[in-house]
Symmetry: D2
């Protein structure tokens, strides 16, 4: 297939590489053009603007950091050049894989529909290593005929694709809610660990009880280990990005009139983490707020 | 060993049965005496009071519903007969397996110490079926020499024993915190499910995404399935007992000056569940509060 | 003075009337032009666009419903005509009296500065009746020389002006925080009233105790009476507007890294109020959430 | 009237003094007997035990620090001497003015009823200075005939008496809920003040806006001034007592199945205040938690 791939960051680059290996004809765009060098050598074309990248594509894939970046490449605002919306052919597909707001997904859907183009959401769960190995989990939503076209592309990038709805923004809701659930695990573990530390229990011993009984999921061992050691290095996902995802969850929930008190509480803890100087830490470091609010000293530097 | 076993409820009876099968000499006590019939036929002695049961024992095991029941059999208050504290021999062990408050565990420790008796906490994770199969998870705390004596007994009742501290009440802290973490999962899933339902996503499809990706632990599939179906039958653990455990967690946390805002929030949701008529439901039915607060109708009767 | 007044709603019209009575030369603009008829008869000029209204003014006053309305009249976006930013003379003042976000106030400040124009924030506390009587409370912030120019105008519209900072957006922070504090009073009264009702105490008797002892402020008697009667008519300020102000408070707080857990909780209660069908009720009707969550029936229709 | 007065602390002593001045025949009891010296010189009798004090009384008044103290003087447990329950004559009245739990008030009511004695609750709002001037606010509940008998006594101690119910524990609910509402004001002001400080607004200027507009009640000026100065001296009511009252409010609410999320949140802030070393501070110092969670430094020592 003729594919335009926009956004060659830590996630996008390995994803694009996997697509190229699968034999697709690729046109690449990244704001910092040098990020495209590797794939250019491997035979990819490099476009000067998102609009140029998308002009000839059957499918244009976006994998960018946030709403603003996606708005910029789609609508071309503030860039002085065409966005992909202006050039994508009728019937061609925009496959949006970034973690964006539900509201933006809804606007993109309408914008593409009004041009006779197609829009599908397919955000991912997984870190850069998983992207490199084609082991991402992909959550997608869209009309089934269009999903069918995208299926082989998704299969090249992920280990499993979950179809959750015919309505594209639904996939974004699922993605955001997943990050909310991870944050819930972090806060739960943070409070419980503060409690057991105050009763003289070794946090690692405590974590072994949890993961050895009812809580044997990766999310508990990964974050539990950080909390037990009170060490949140290395930074996989920065605090402001984590806070942004909780904010987008709350915003989507407010629009649908769903109160989410756990999410509100997590947001407050993250805001306090920012106030305590954890701005550049991994998002999971907001677990320190529960410990510090209980008067427990930090074991490692900020 | 000579063992007194006090409390032959849904959990205690199968636990006592496993000990008897392991060849121990058992004296049994239960408030409703007929619950002891089965084990009597199998060779157990039945005592008329907790004090009588404990008089000759090397280890007395208590497995009862709540603080009040344990206080009654230990101190004999309000019963007109001796509790086990009065008759247990110096050097003999009280192995307390009930889910009780940290405060009561501390009082029991002091009371037994002042009589030259020994005290160990060993609460369990698992439902009656796990107890029947000797598959409980046991969390224990106490001086290591005493734990060594108890080890073969615990091995007859559980699949794994976790030692968390030399200080007995620490095991009760861990047990209570475990129920808090389960309740955190329930509330997190309840809010996320309310959100996705409002966006037209099938809750079971959503749960499949969660358990198929990062949340592949039994606690997610078990409670997630109930929430997805909005059906909390059968009742494994009643709402007031669940609320009691969260209250005891908060009480232990307050004594140790640990704020636990998630636990506070869960308590509020459970209180609202009681106000909505869910008093006799399984404790996980407090997930309905998040749904109803979002204006979602219940799918099944209360 | 030559004044342009933009926004002749329930608040703006009586405010503009008071200015005209004070002898100022007025040019008026309102989206629905007929709202200006009364003041036109009294000698005011009516402009066809915000830009036309501001062209000749020493001070342009805006009193509009929300951020979007203010953005539209200032920047002229989506209107096909000039906003006031394009026509206001260097040195002239934009006196912004609407309840807007801190973020928009900051953007307006920068935009006007870059044109050599002046910007002052002066939001108000008070209902339309207070506006009619010139009895508003006005909270203002800006450079003192500019405030001095505005002083007589503010004195014609309000009973008292509070200067809180040299930095204009500070006044918007104070205004939003005031609405947050009112909502705190409502939620506190709602929970306390639910409690005493459950213990058989008459809510009006209870309110008399409160206002007769420590809580003798208008905010307690006004909202307390609505809660005691469980009747939130008439609608002074609609629920979505109240929710908006709490959202803007949380947003301003997040930017300044201030966790506000009370505000988060109030937001959740308001979202639940919307989910329960209270969309068109007065904002204080979110007090019903506390009552209904306690299983108390409503006394009056929604 | 023949009155026994039990509890001559900072509140009880001036209250008893006012009763004596009104001409009643007084028998006094205090655990530390020397606290009775002043009133003995003025003609009061001093009893050696609560039981002795109550033996001859028409009305026995208790004004003590907490549930444990009241239980001790009523039931005589742990004291080796009779409590007042054992000696009070049938038909005589126990007028309970302490801030105690709703649960204890219910137990006292039953205990007195079973002896043919009468029980009335009449807790107070006000500090020691108000007690000295006979300016307390008194909230009372009980059968009207009994309240009529107590009326002149209450009039000697307070400036106003509010009757809230025929059921005595209702007065304790109202008293506890009042302290909850004060704490709500403190938390609301603490969050709002943290917000405005971050935007560079002087906290005293901010408070002047509040008290000069909608929030002109003593509770705002008193606590607002402490928060604005970040100085919580002198200690009028210690943190653990404040925490106790919120805990009793939550406990009464839980029994009546009323979720009170504001109260839960306040409790968490107070627990965190204790963890931060504010154990011996005035209860209002929990306002520091909101400030510190926003990264604001304290202005005064702990």
């Amino acid at each position: 297939m003729k594919i335009a791939f926009i956004g060659l960051g830590n996630m996008g680059l390995p994803m694009a590489r996997n697509l190229m290996r699968a034999g697709h004809e690729m046109v690449l765009y990244n704001r910092t053009a040098s990020r495209a060098d590797e794939l250019k050598k491997a035979g990819g074309k490099v476009a000067a603007t998102p609009g140029e990248a998308a002009a000839d594509a059957e499918v244009v894939i976006t994998m960018l950091a946030d709403d603003a970046a996606v708005e910029s490449v789609v609508f071309g605002a503030d860039t002085g050049s065409n966005g992909l919306l202006a050039t994508l052919k009728p019937g061609a597909i925009h496959l949006s894989m970034s973690t964006i707001s539900v509201e933006l997904a809804q606007r993109l859907l309408q914008a593409h529909n009004s041009k006779g183009q197609r829009f599908v959401s397919a955000p991912v769960f997984g870190r850069p290593e998983a992207a490199a190995q084609g082991k991402l989990f992909i959550v997608t939503a869209g009309p089934s005929a269009i999903l069918k076209t995208c299926e082989p592309l998704l299969a090249s990038m992920g280990q499993k694709t979950f179809v959750v709805s015919e309505n594209p923004p639904a996939a974004n809701v699922v993605k955001l809610s997943g990050n909310f659930l991870i944050a819930s695990v972090i806060e739960g573990l943070a409070e419980a660990t503060a409690l057991v530390r105050k009763y003289g229990i070794d946090p690692q011993t405590y974590l072994d009880v949890l993961t050895g009984t009812l809580f044997g999921a990766p999310v508990y061992s990964t974050y539990g280990s950080r909390i037990a050691k009170d060490n949140f290095e290395p930074v996989g996902f920065r605090m402001p990005l984590g806070l942004k995802d909780i904010r987008l969850t709350l915003s989507a929930a407010e629009k649908a009139t769903v109160p989410m008190p756990f999410a509100s509480l997590i947001r407050d803890q993250m805001v306090s983490a920012m106030a305590r100087g954890l701005h550049d830490s991994d998002w999971s470091a907001f677990a320190r707020v529960a410990a510090e609010n209980a008067g427990l000293p930090s074991k490692s530097p900020k």
